[in-house]
Amino acid sequence: MSINQHPSSEWLSAYSAGSLSLSQSLCVAAHMESCSVCQQTFARLNQLGGELMTELSPAIGSTLNFEQLMDSINQQESMAVQTIDTDMPRAKPRGSIPLCLRKFIPVDYDHLQWSRISPSIQSTQLCQDHGGSKVELLRIKPGGSAPTHTHLGDELTVILEGSFSDETGIYRAGDFLACDGNNTHTPVASKDRDCICLVVSEAPLQFTGWFTRLFNPLLRRGYA
């Protein structure tokens, strides 16, 4: 078992604090929806947040007034009578799509606009975050491999379907991997099915093979 399969405590605490970028948070959430161990750690880290907040010396001098607050609540309530409660449990989408990605994957993986980036890999961009980090899905054909690469910034991967292996081990649906410039790896999808991953990269991948290095400028497309 590799510790890479869960987000480390630094990732979890930054997520709980709300200080992680939203695209990276999306990866932590996609993992955590199906990981009860991380859910429990998350609950504790939130508790830490609550304690730290109460340690602050209260900032008095608010211009807020309780009666005005009640007025605006009452106003909202009278307007909201006929509207549908948006906090209703959401319908769970088909298969393995994490709920946190539901907005970006409205139907299923097949209905997304995939583009081919190599004979065995397709990609589709889900959204972009400030600072140019990129949120995309990669779909690797059975047995297909990605070129050996390293990273200029952090790259987070959550496996949504299928599995892949690299130099460090085998990764399956739900697993979370964090790579940075110190990791060079060659992921290969398992032979039985497509492997679909959520990948958030802060900066373009760096290919390290002598031939694929030529493609690097091409990969920078799409980064702010």
Binding site: L26, Q39, M53, L64, M70
Partner: protein, 193 residues
Amino acid sequence: MVQLAQTKTPQETLQQWLRAVAIERDQNAFKKLFEHYVPLLRSYSLAREPGSSLLADELAQEVMIKVWNKAASYNAEKANTNTWIFTLARNSRIDHLRRNGRFATNIDSSDLFDNIVDTSPSPFQAAQTHTVQKNIREGLDQLPREQAEVLSKVYLQGRSHQQASDELSLPLGTVKSRVRLALKKMQLLMGDL
């Protein structure tokens, strides 16, 4: 001195007030929660945006409206009131930054946090919450200054590890290891994370 008395309100009392809001829609209890939490919520906002008193009021107001609207969903077995209010404040802060274009993205806090449920069996949760509470309190009291400083950057000032590293003139690895050491000291980590 009034403020000091407010922060010493025991957890049981805060929970009673919140329950009264949830069940009886008790405005007096809500007013007490308002008086207790608004100054803390303002401090939380000011920690990130010092000097921005208006923003602090805005965040406090938004969170208090959520407290009123969502009181019924509060579960005392899963979290104490401070934890619950902190998560509401964190989410409001994220959405505020997003609305103001600081995060150019269509990811919002409900995508990130609304689908995470703690699936551990509830009879253990209340007891566990107490143990965790004790560990956090004891840990915070003994925490070396440099670890407390990093935690405050991340949790209260909302800084990324990179920003904390820049502001404290520390290597990124040192920031991360201080976070880890602090969490270990408070026994907040499950397994070998």
